[in-house]
Symmetry: C3
Subunit: 476 residues, 3 copies
C-alpha cells in the first residue's frame, strides 16, 4: 500500500489512448466539447435541493452515505454498513461520527483504483473543492474540514452549483403519486427551464412494490378516477402523466425486472387487473401485468408524446440480510441476463410503427448490445439506445457500448449521455468521462480511416450535446 | 452536418491500427494478399445475372432497393419504406422515381458513418465507378447519372465484372425445388467453374415456411418419390442433393431459427413426419422436425460429401407491420440468444466422428464464440467455424471473432471469409475489409511477439484464400 | 507452411502492447514481479511425483499424452486419438511408439499458432530444456532425445524442479475419499509447507458420478459414520474435511455442472438424500441435491474456515464416442451458459454474511464477468473472483477478464492467478503469462492516466503474489 502523499491523478489527457496520433486527435475533439453545457435528461438528484437551495451539510452525508457505489465496495471488503452510518430500517444504532466514517473511506481509497467511482471522486475533490493531493488517511481530516467549510458557503448552494456546473437542463425522477411540490416551487422560482421532473410509474404498475395497493388508492385520491376499473386506472395514469408534463416532464421511466411486454385483449386486461387488485396474483400474473403495463405506457406515449425509457434487468435486493436491515438501494442490486428481442415483440407489434412514439432502451446485459439492441434500434423508428448504464457507466463500459453498437445502429440511433446519478456534485465529472471516451472512440475511427475528421467533429458535438436534447425533446 | 463536398474516405491504410509498428506490419501482410483471387463460397447473388449477362439497369434498383442494410437504417430514422420504392406485397403504390429515391439516400449518407455499409459503398463508388467525392445531396444527381451510364456499358455486364473483380469462384444459394435453369445455362456457357449453386432445403424441411406443403408436393413431382412416406421424403432429398451437385454445388445451407438437433428413432420420425404433413403440428413438433432434419442432413453429408453450413439464430420478420406490408428480408430479422453446446449434441452423438462429415457453424450470438464454438471446433474433427456473420460481418465484428476464437480453435479450424451478400458490386469491398482486418489481427500478434512474422505471412494467405477453398472442397 | 527451421519465438517483450509508452511501462512493472516466488493454490499435478521424487520418463508421456489441450487440437484436425497413444478404456491397441507420436506433434506444431498451448510449450522448450529452435518435423527426433536425456537426470526430478521453478506453494486436488498417502509421505519428508492438498468432494456429492454409491460406502468406511442418515453423511464430510486440513488443505473445490444452490429444510434434505441413495433420483432431483450440497459445503466452510472454490459450467464428455472409448478429460468438455445471480441466491441468503466464509467463483461463461460476477464480488464480503479459467486462461482471456471485472469489483476482490494445470513443467510459463498480462493491463491504465504509476507497482506485486496467498489463507 502506498503511504506517502500523492498528487491527484487528473491528467489533462486522461482516458485518451496512449497512441500519440489517437491522443492528439482525441485532444482536438475534446477541446471542442469540453465546455458545452450539460444536458442531464435522466437522473436521481433530490428536487428539494433546487427548490429550497439550502447548503449541503457535510462531506460524509453528501458523498458517502447516499452513494451505494462507494459503500458497497467498502462493504465487500468486510466493513460493516453500520460503521459507515448507513441508516437501519429499525432505527438501530449506526455510526454517527461523520469524521470517523470519512476516515474509513480515506483509509480504503485504494480499493477504488481503476473504478469509475475513483475517477469521479478525484474530479470532485480537485475541480469542485480544489484539492491537489490524493485523499488518504494522512489528509483525511483536512479534506473533511475543508469540504464542510466550502459546503457551508453560498457558492456551494445547489442553484449556484447548477450554474457553475454549466447545467443547461437537469431531469429528476419522481414516482407517479408524488405531489411534485418541489417542482412547483422550482417553477414558481422560474427555474423550470433548468430543472424538470420525469414520470416513473413503477409504484403503481408493479404489484411487487411494497404498498402497491396503497399507491393505487393514492392515485385514486389524486385523480378522482375510479381506479378499481381498468379504464379508470388507465385514465388516472393519463391524468398523472399530464400533471407531470405540467411540471416539465418530457419523459417517463420504467424500471422493470425484465423487458417483457404483452398485448392482451381488453377483457383479459380487466380480469388480470382485478386479480392484481385482489392481492392474489401469482408471480407470473404480476409479471404479465407489468408486461401489459409497458405496452399501455407505450400507447399513452404515442398519444401524449412523452419519451418512454425502459431500464430492465436488475435483480433488486439480492442480499437478503442487507435488504431486511437497511432496505432498498444498498448496492446489492445485481444484473441478470435480459432478453429484448422476444420480450419487446408484443409491444412493437402493437405500437412499433406509431409515428410519435419514441422508446429509449437501456440494458445491464451487454451481451445484447450487438445481438439484439443495435439491430432493433437500427430498424425500428420508435427505438433508440440509451447510453451504457449503471455498472457499465464507466470508461470500459462506454467503449464496449460504442464498439458493439455503432456498426449496426450507427450514431444517430443513440441518445447521448445520461448521468443517472443522485450524486449531484459528480455530474460534471460523469459527463466529462463520457465526452472523453466518445472523443477517444471517434479519434480511433479517424486514425484508422474509418471516419473523416470533419464527421468526427460533428459527431463529438452531437454525442456530447445535441442528441440528448433531441432524443428527450428538450429543444423547444 | 457537413455541407461542403468531401473527398471519399478510402485511405490506403484504412482499418489498420494507428500504431506505427502494427500499421507497417499490416501493410506488408496486406500487400501479399490484396490481389489474390476472390473465393466467395457462400452468398446470395442472383444466378440469372450470370446466366443472362444483361446490363444492370439503374443505381437505385441495384444499390438501394434490394439492400436491407441500407434501407433499414433509413427506415430507422423515420423514412417510410414506400418513399424508398420498396415494393408492397399488395402492389400498393410506392415511389417509382428512382432519382428521387437516390437523393434521399444521398441526403442521409451521414447516417452510415462508421458502419460497414458506408465502407462498402465508398469502395464501390470509388473503385468500381471511379468517383472521388463523397456522396452528398449536392452531387447526388451527378452520381446517379454517371452510375447509370456506366451500368449501361459492356464493361459493367455481370460476366465482365466477375473477371474484373478477380472472382475465382462464386456460389449462389437456391431452394431445394429450384429447377436451377440459370445454373444450367451457366454450365452450358462453360462458366460453371466460376459460378456454382448451394443446396438450401429450408423450404422443404421447415414446416413454418409459407407453402411448405406445396413445396413438398413440388419435391414429389421433381423426383418421382412418394414424399408422403418418411423414406420417400428422404430419398427425394437425396435426389435433389445429387441434382444440385450436378450443377456444381459442394455445400448445403440451413437457416434454422435455432441450432437444435434431434436423433429420433425411425418410428418416431415416421410419426412426426406424418403429423407435420397433416398440417396439425404444434410449434414444438415443428421445431423437433427441423431438429431431426438437421441430423438427417448431416447423415446425408456424411454419405455424399457435401459440406453442411448451419446459420441459426435469426428471429425473422420481427416487425409485424413491415412483414405484412412488404414481406421477407426487409431488415427486420433480429438475432436472438443461441445455444450450440446442448443443441448440437444429438447430431454429434450420431455423426460427430464420421470421417467425411464437415459442418461449418455460423452464429449471430457472439457470446458463444469463446464459450461454445471455439471449444467445439477445437475438438470435433467434423466442425469448422464460419466467419463473422451478417451484423458481425464488420471490422469490429471480425476483430471480436478473431480475438475470441483463435486461442481455443486456432486458425485452421476456421474457414476464411464468406461475403454472404446479394450486393454483387460490393463483393470486392467485403473481401477487402476481411483481408485488411485479418492482416491487422496478425500484425498485432506479431508486434506482441505472439506469432512469428513468417507464420503471419503464411496465415494471411490461408485466411484470404486457401482455407475457403479447402473448407468448401473447391480444390479439385 | 514454413519448412525452414525458425528460432523459438520467446521475445523479452512478448505479450506487452506494441505501443512504445505502454511497452516501456509494462517492462518496468514486469521486471519487479518476474522473479517472485510462484503461488499455485489450485491445480492438478500428481502428488506421487513430489512424494516419490522419481524421474519423469519420456517427453511424449509427460508432455502430450496427458495434455488434453494438445491432443484435442490434433484430434480436431483429423488425427485419431489412438495414433497419439491415448489409452483406451477397453485396453484396445493404441500407438506405443512414443517417438512416432512426438513426430506427429512436431509435424502439426503450426496448428497451435497463437494459442496459449504454443506459448507454454515454447517456454518449456526454451527455458526448461534449453532449446533455441522452434519444434518442427526436422528437429523432432533431436528434441525428443534431448528432452528424454534431461528428464533422466537428477536436476529434472520433481523436487528439484519445484526449487528451480521457485514454487513457494503448490496445491494439488484430491477426491474426498482419497487416502492422501502421497501427501502423508510429503509431510513425512518435510515438504508439506510447499505441497498441499485440496478437498474436492464431487465424487461423494454428485449422484451423476460413476460409482457414486460406492464412493459413499467408502466414505462410511473411512469415517465410521452412518452415511445413510443425512446427519451421518454430513458428519462424514466434516470428518474428511478435517483429514484434508491435517494434510495441509486450506481450500475445497466444487466442479458442478451449474452454480445452482438450494436451501431446503432439514426434513426435505433427509428425504432428498434418501432418494439419491436409493438410486432412483431423477435428473432434477440430482441437480437439486448438488445444489443443496453447495450450500452445506458453504456452511461447513463458515465453520472450519476452508476457502470454497466453485468451478461451474462445463458440459463434460460432450463427444459420446470419445467418452465411451477413452473416458473422462479427453478435451471434449464444452462450456455452456451459466447463471450465477439467481443460482447463488439461496446459498447467499443463508450464509452470505457469515464473517469467516470465503467463496471464490470461477466461470467458463465470460458474459457473466461484468453482468453478474463483478457486481456480486463488488458487494458480498464472502465472494471473491477467481482468475480467467481453462479456455480463458490465455492472453486474450485474461485481458477480457481484467477489462470486464475491474471497474466494478476492483482489484482487491480478485485472488491473483491459478494455473489449474496437471502439466507441471508448464507452471512457470503459465504464471509468466499471467504476470505479463497483468503488467500490460496496469501499464495501459497508467498510460491512460487512470491509475498512478506508484499504485501500479503495488498492484503488480499484489496480483502476482500477495492476493493469492491471502485469498487461500496461505500466509500463516
Amino acid at each position: 500500500m502506498v503511504s506517502q502523499i500523492q498528487p491527484i491523478n487528473l491528467h489533462a489527457d486522461r482516458l485518451f489512448s496512449a497512441d500519440p496520433k489517437m491522443r492528439e486527435l482525441s485532444r482536438a475533439l475534446y477541446k471542442t466539447v469540453a465546455d458545452l453545457p450539460i444536458i442531464s435528461p435522466h437522473g436521481h438528484t433530490d428536487p428539494s435541493w433546487f427548490a429550497n437551495n439550502e447548503c449541503f451539510k457535510n462531506a460524509t452525508e453528501l458523498l458517502i452515505i447516499p452513494d451505494h457505489y462507494v459503500f458497497r465496495m467498502l462493504y465487500s471488503q468486510g466493513i460493516q454498513l453500520e460503521e459507515l452510518g448507513i441508516p437501519r430500517i429499525d432505527g438501530g444504532q449506526v455510526e454517527t461520527d461523520y469524521l470517523k466514517i470519512w476516515r474509513i473511506f480515506a483509509a480504503h481509497y485504494h480499493l477504488f483504483h481503476a473504478t469509475p467511482s475513483r475517477m469521479w471522486m478525484d474530479y470532485v475533490f480537485s475541480e469542485v473543492f480544489g484539492f491537489t493531493e490524493t485523499l488518504c488517511l494522512a489528509n483525511a481530516d483536512d479534506y473533511y474540514h475543508k469540504i464542510n467549510q466550502q459546503l457551508n458557503s453560498d457558492a456551494f448552494k445547489p442553484r449556484a452549483l447548477l450554474k457553475r456546473f454549466n447545467i443547461e437542463l437537469l431531469a429528476t425522477t419522481e414516482g407517479a403519486t408524488d405531489p411534485l411540490k418541489h417542482h412547483a416551487k422550482i417553477k414558481a422560482d422560474g427555474l423550470n427551464q433548468t430543472v424538470i421532473t420525469t414520470f416513473r410509474p413503477d409504484d403503481v404498475v408493479d404489484p411487487n412494490i411494497p404498498n402497491f395497493l396503497g399507491n393505487i388508492q393514492n392515485l385514486a385520491e389524486q385523480t378522482g378516477e375510479d381506479v378499481h376499473t381498468w379504464q379508470g386506472y388507465l385514465n388516472a395514469l393519463r391524468n398523472r402523466r399530464a400533471f407531470f408534463r405540467a411540471h416539465g416532464a418530457t419523459a417517463t421511466d420504467h424500471g422493470h425486472p425484465s423487458a417483457l411486454t404483452a398485448d392482451l385483449s381488453g377483457v383479459e386486461c380487466e380480469k388480470l387487473f382485478a386479480t392484481v387488485l385482489s392481492g392474489d396474483a401469482s408471480a407470473q400474473q404480476k409479471e404479465l401485468f407489468r408486461a401489459q403495463m409497458l405496452t399501455e405506457m407505450a400507447g399513452m406515449s404515442a398519444e401524449d408524446g412523452m419519451v418512454m425509457q425502459i431500464h430492465p434487468g436488475s435483480r433488486r435486493n439480492h442480499n437478503k440480510q442487507v435488504f431486511e436491515k437497511f432496505g432498498l438501494d444498498k448496492g446489492c442490486d445485481i444484473p441478470g441476463r435480459t432478453d429484448f428481442v422476444d420480450s419487446l415483440r408484443p409491444l412493437l407489434a402493437r405500437y412499433g410503427t406509431e409515428k410519435d412514439l419514441r422508446i429509449i432502451l437501456f440494458t445491464l446485459d451487454e451481451s445484447v448490445y450487438a445481438r439484439e439492441l443495435a439491430p432493433l434500434a437500427g430498424h425500428y423508428p420508435c427505438l433508440k439506445l440509451g447510453p451504457a448504464w449503471w455498472f457499465h457507466d464507466s470508461p470500459e463500459g462506454m467503449l464496449r457500448y460504442r464498439h458493439n453498437v455503432t456498426e449496426t445502429a450507427g450514431f444517430y440511433n443513440t441518445v447521448g449521455f445520461n448521468d443517472d446519478t443522485r450524486a449531484f456534485l459528480s455530474i460534471p465529472s460523469r459527463h466529462d468521462v463520457a465526452r472523453r471516451i466518445d472523443c477517444r472512440f471517434l479519434a480511433q475511427l479517424v486514425a484508422e480511416h474509418r471516419l473523416t475528421e470533419s464527421a468526427a467533429f460533428d459527431l463529438a458535438y452531437d454525442l456530447s450535446y445535441r442528441l440528448a436534447k433531441e432524443a428527450y425533446q428538450l429543444t423547444k
